[in-house]
């Protein structure tokens, strides 16, 4: 039935959107605060999924706990990342890029070697299907969306209410006031990195339950995150949400009409058009 299909696609859109947004937020934070193109985000996402799997499926820990633990573990890796991989090269575009590329290469291949071709996925968080009004929806996807949305809200609140959050916000919008207030940029970067990694880990874990885990699963998500950030524009954290929704919707609805790869072609076209007429993105301010 059409309404049933529509409902499913809508839920899918919301779910995709929230996952894209989680990834994109973290990526955008790191980009605007540290000026780093964190390619490693792809592997963080992937690591989140694998750690969660390891905890839940292998050690038998409760999935929800595993989810939280995964976020914590991978988030702490973010501390290491910021302190030893990015901070030493603050401001040096070349070296931070090499570092970020090195990370993605090393980590993806390490996982590939260790885990390789075994097909596995994270045990479902909320198995089953919800039925009502002749419509059946995957609970899993709904739950994923809800968690994503909650985290998004949490982050927004964090950046508005807490001191560190406000500092993060100030720096990411490149306000001169931030510099003048004598904000400890290293502390802010560390916090931002931890948050970004934790968000990506959650996304990886949740998606790992819906799709299969593989060492390169982060690549596509990284591309999506970048697409969202490009659409949203420079310096606009709020715009990320809007763009994520747009993209999630497109990626959910279009495959019904066109083949999967054509969606990407469309994506390229859209990005080009946006860059042509509005280089600062849909929501960004003039660079």
């Amino acid at each position: 039935m059409v309404s049933g299909l529509l409902a499913q696609v809508a839920v899918n859109a919301l779910m995709l959107a929230s996952m894209y947004i989680l990834m994109a937020l973290g990526f955008a934070l790191l980009l605007s605060i540290m000026g780093v193109l964190n390619f490693a985000h792809a592997v963080i996402y992937m690591a989140g999924g694998y750690v969660c799997y390891q905890l839940a499926a292998v050690y038998g820990i409760n999935q929800w706990l595993s989810l939280v633990l995964s976020a914590v573990i991978v988030g702490s890796f973010g501390l290491f990342l910021e302190r030893f991989c990015y901070r030493p090269f603050f401001g040096d575009v070349n070296r931070t890029m090499v570092m970020s590329l090195a990370l993605i290469v090393i980590l993806e291949s390490t996982v590939n070697i260790l885990v390789g071709s075994y097909v596995r996925s994270v045990p479902s968080f909320a198995p089953g299907v919800m039925r009502g009004g002749g419509v059946s929806l995957s609970v899993e996807r709904l739950v994923t969306f809800v968690i994503g949305a909650l985290l998004m809200l949490a982050l927004i609140l964090f950046m508005q209410k807490t001191k560190i959050g406000q500092q993060m916000s100030a720096i990411s919008q490149e306000s001169i006031g931030a510099v003048l207030q004598g904000i400890n940029i290293y502390r802010v970067s560390a916090v931002a990195t931890v948050i970004a990694c934790a968000l990506a880990a959650v996304a990886g874990s949740l998606m790992g339950a819906i799709t299969n885990l593989n060492p390169f699963m982060g690549d596509q998500m990284l591309v999506k995150a970048i697409e969202v950030v490009i659409l949203a524009g420079i310096g606009s954290i709020g715009g990320v949400v809007g763009s994520g929704l747009i993209l999630g919707t497109i990626d959910s609805f279009l495959p019904l009409v066109l083949s999967g790869c054509a969606t990407d072609a469309l994506g390229l076209g859209i990005v080009i058009l946006i860059l042509l007429f509005r280089p600062q993105g849909l929501f960004g301010h003039e660079a």
Binding site: L37, F39, M99, L101, V105, I106, V223, L268, L275
Partner: protein, 345 residues
């Protein structure tokens, strides 16, 4: 770099950033490369050299784009455009690869101009982001096109057509790795010479001006966006040539060869080798492509070895491997900088 550079006004080359590489090492190296097939007989090693040379062209062209301050993280896609264009045209229309290879380069260049204009309007790291996205999108478009033909890859690409001048010379390429090797070597020398020339003349100087200060460059009349598109197009042209040559060597193409990870590797080769010197990409590519080959038995650990090399380089060699020379010179205080007088007059 703290050293003085003597501006050589006698030569017609406008010198930027250091003296031209006057070492005797280069001609010697070239001669050795020409003599290589005499020493190395195994086809597999010849193959490695061919691939390395092709990638040297691509990475050097990536650096050409980087001269104007743009690091493209989607460069492999343009190699792919050249490869597929040349492959398809020569296969379907029956044209000689000798003709379609330059056409492949032009196709890549054309694509670069098309998406280059909106892309180059964004600067620095945003350009890298956007180019990453663009590269992947291009490869996906290729995948779509392939799906339409029902194939997984492009097969049956004609090899380089034989050169047959009766009484003078007769070269076949099909099945002859050594022929391909010499072709690739010559191609590499020609392409690198062209890139070197471009960099050293006013064109390259203009690009480097933009990279250093786009404000000042604009104020002296340089069309910033136009020049950046030109730099982007030039780099992509050579990537296309290399890609097309690869197509007629490998005879089979699959889309992942020009995707996300390969593009990342290209940037890696360039940065590890050193972005500041012309020889950087050459050294970086040579080391990072050939070293794993000699540890072929540890096939899976290749990326780990690469990663390890990268980490070492990034911590110890800020200017990459090619910059090591400059680094050591500076360390030993060999800069002969005169004290600048307090008076301008």
């Amino acid at each position: 770099m703290a050293t003085r550079h003597k501006y050589d006004s006698g030569a017609f080359l406008v010198k930027v950033k250091g003296k031209p590489f006057k070492s005797a090492a280069v001609p010697v190296l070239v001669i050795l490369l020409f003599l290589l097939p005499l020493f190395v007989k195994q086809p597999y090693y010849i193959h490695v050299f061919i691939i390395t040379l092709l990638y040297i062209i691509v990475v050097s062209s990536l650096r050409t784009i980087a001269l104007s301050g743009q690091v493209s993280v989607g460069h492999a896609a343009f190699m792919g455009i050249g490869a597929y264009f040349s492959g398809v045209i020569s296969k379907e229309l029956g044209w000689m690869p000798w003709l379609t290879i330059p056409l492949g380069g032009l196709a890549a260049m054309f694509a670069a101009v098309l998406i280059g204009y909106p892309f180059t309007r964004v600067r620095a790291i945003y350009f890298s982001m956007v180019s990453l996205f663009g590269g992947i999108a291009i490869v996906n478009i290729i995948r779509v096109a392939q799906k339409w033909t029902g194939a997984i890859g492009l097969t049956g690409i004609p090899p380089l057509s034989p050169i047959d001048i009766p009484g003078v010379i007769s070269i076949t390429f099909l099945g002859e790795k050594v022929s391909y090797y010499y072709f690739t070597l010559l191609l590499t020398l020609v392409c690198l010479s062209a890139l070197y020339r471009i960099e050293r003349c006013r064109i390259g100087m203009t690009w480097k001006s933009i990279a250093q200060s786009h404000l000042v460059a604009s104020s002296v009349g340089i069309n910033e966006v136009g020049s950046r598109v030109l730099s982007f197009a030039t780099g992509c042209f050579f990537a296309g040539i290399a890609g097309a040559s690869y197509a007629h060597y490998n005879l089979v193409l699959t889309a992942p060869t020009f995707g996300f990870l390969p593009s990342i590797f290209l940037v890696m080769y360039m940065l590890v080798g050193g972005r500041d010197r012309f020889g950087g990409p050459i050294i970086g590519t040579a080391i990072l492509v050939m070293v794993p080959e000699f540890f072929r038995s540890l096939k899976e650990f290749t990326p780990l070895i690469l990663g390890a090399i990268m980490v070492v380089v990034v911590f110890l060699m800020p200017q990459g491997i090619a910059g090591l020379f400059d680094q050591i010179k500076a360390r030993h205080g060999q800069d002969r900088r005169r004290k600048v007088p307090t008076h301008a007059a």
